[in-house]
């Protein structure tokens, strides 16, 4: 799976978890808490869905550092098995 495919999937999951964002464009540099208004519980939900979707585990100690969608994509991408 390419990084771009991961990004597209991440955006899809964010829209699923936060349907109120429909119509709001999301990009790699979208800042999660300010540009989307998603609070920390909403963010937790998104991360959990992403972990399940990609079958990866991002240590919770690192969640606070994932400020942009791009950072989330990087955290997932580097944990993907090479053949995935």
């Amino acid at each position: 799976m390419s990084r771009e495919e991961v990004l597209n999937k991440v955006i899809e999951v964010v829209y699923e978890c936060a349907p109120e964002l429909e119509g709001t464009p999301l990009y790699e540099n979208t800042v999660i808490n300010t540009d989307t208004g998603i609070d920390s519980m909403g963010f937790t939900l998104i991360i959990c869905r992403l972990e399940a979707t990609f079958d990866v585990r991002i240590p919770s100690r690192q969640w606070n550092k994932l400020n942009t969608l791009g950072a989330v994509v990087d955290a997932i991408y580097k944990r993907l098995p090479k053949d995935k």
Partner: protein, 441 residues
């Protein structure tokens, strides 16, 4: 019943209801009876007693092992410090030094990483239990509590909101926060209810439906989240909300489901709640049994809570004397007592700026107006050189912002008008619960 020590509590529960579940936990819904809980705590306590350390820091993950470690350490009377397990490394190091931690318990990788970064400990067994304040207006301080103050707080809360042994209290709050520790854990244990230990953030959506609690302690954000996700089980009948106000919409949604919502007001310094709403308006809170609340002339809430009060901030004599005078805590919160003597909270004193002309600006209200006209929540108002400045994260040009806030400015006296805009590229610094850290701006 009022307990004076964790030992007395363990003995009572194990003798009176030995085979009753003290805890349910994990994805297998494991159960630990009162008898087993006591045995495991005693066994671990004996081990800790012999080990060569004086201050134990626990990285709280809310697991059963974590709960046992906490109780076991308290029984040894060695100093205990409760840390949030997601705390950044550099801050953890700073807090380990500050609180003299010479043994760390929790996530193995992290404990190993900090093995050579521990402090030198202390020389006496003092029975201290240290919790950190959340720090919206200043840096976190370690508040010195003990088993007696925490149990007294649980007793006071239970007097207003009793649980029974048939209740299941679900704890989804961090145990390193005094509200989570007292209202998510001790509230259940001291009432012989079963405490269901939430399985962590990853299971936030499922835990209510999984453990089927009858009671829950929650912060407003968690309660809103559970409602939004339709993650509430039908057996839930009581929700205690603390650490902030929540909207009428969230209150009504709970009521519509037949759930009683109570608010609790308290601080880390008072070992959690000193006022709780019992019936009627959830924002009108009755003062707890052993506590006394008065309102200062400027509206500040003053608390006398002899049985629950902290002994001070750890190694911060001056800071302690600034807020604790003759046994009365100057909370920094604003509120009033109604004709029935019930407490209502109106805001934080430190969120109120007094201008040089003596007029007062109440920041949350002011900022809410600005957020509405600017359609941007990433802003705050600060006082610089006796004038008000709007600090905002925005790409919008300054003229446009000024034009948008003109109507707000025009309605206020000159001293209270925003006279400068300070744009930031980065988001405002916030605490874990989302409150702006004003002291960092």
């Amino acid at each position: 019943m009022k307990y004076r020590s964790f030992k007395e509590l363990l003995e009572y529960n194990a003798e009176k209801y030995p085979e009753y579940s003290a805890f349910i936990y994990g994805s297998e819904k494991n159960s630990l009876t009162n008898r087993e809980f006591k045995e495991r705590v005693y066994k671990r306590s004996e081990e800790l007693d012999k080990e060569a350390f004086s201050v134990l820091g626990i990285l709280c993950d809310g697991s059963i092992d974590c709960v046992i470690e906490i109780f076991a350490c308290v029984l040894t009377r060695k100093q205990l410090v409760l840390f949030n397990q997601n705390i950044p490394d550099e801050i953890l190091k700073e807090l380990i030094d500050y609180t003299d931690v010479d043994r760390l318990y929790g996530d193995e990788e992290l404990v190993e990483e900090f093995e050579d970064k521990l402090s030198h400990g202390i020389t006496e067994r003092n029975g201290n239990i240290l919790f950190f304040t959340s720090g919206t207006t200043q840096r976190s301080k370690a508040v010195v509590l003990n088993e007696r103050s925490l149990l007294a707080s649980a007793y006071n809360g239970s007097d207003a909101l009793p649980l029974t042994k048939d209740d299941i209290l679900l704890n989804m709050l961090p145990l390193d926060h005094v509200f989570g520790f007292v209202c998510g854990l001790l509230w259940g244990i001291t009432n012989q209810a079963t405490v269901a230990l939430g399985r962590g953030l990853r299971h936030s959506v499922e835990d209510c439906l999984f453990f089927r609690p009858t009671a829950l302690s929650a912060v407003p954000m968690l309660w809103g989240f559970l409602l939004k996700q339709k993650a509430i089980n039908p057996e839930l009948k009581l929700v205690l909300i603390g650490a902030g106000d929540c909207s009428d919409e969230l209150l009504q949604a709970g009521k519509a489901m037949g759930i009683r919502i109570s608010f609790g007001y308290g601080m880390t310094e008072t070992s959690s709640g000193v006022a709780i709403s019992v019936e009627g308006d959830p924002r009108a809170m009755q003062v707890c049994k052993e506590d006394e609340i008065t309102i200062a002339e400027d509206g500040e809430i003053l608390v006398r809570a002899d049985t629950c009060m902290m002994s001070g901030y750890y190694k911060m004599k001056q800071e302690t004397e600034e807020v604790l005078k003759d046994g009365i805590l100057y909370t920094g919160d604003l509120g009033y007592l109604d004709e029935e003597g019930k407490l209502h909270i109106t805001g934080r004193k430190k969120e109120m700026i007094i201008m040089d002309d003596g007029t007062k600006v109440f920041l949350p209200e002011y900022e809410k107006e600005l957020m509405t006209v600017l359609n941007n929540t990433e802003l705050c108002v600060v006082k610089r050189e006796n004038s008000l400045r709007l600090v905002i994260q925005s790409d919008e040009d300054e003229e446009s912002i000024i034009a948008k806030i003109k109507a707000i400015n025009d309605m206020r006296p000159r001293s209270q008008q925003i006279n400068k805009i300070e744009k930031r590229k980065e988001a405002l610094p916030r605490t874990a619960s989302g409150k702006v850290k004003r002291w960092e701006i």
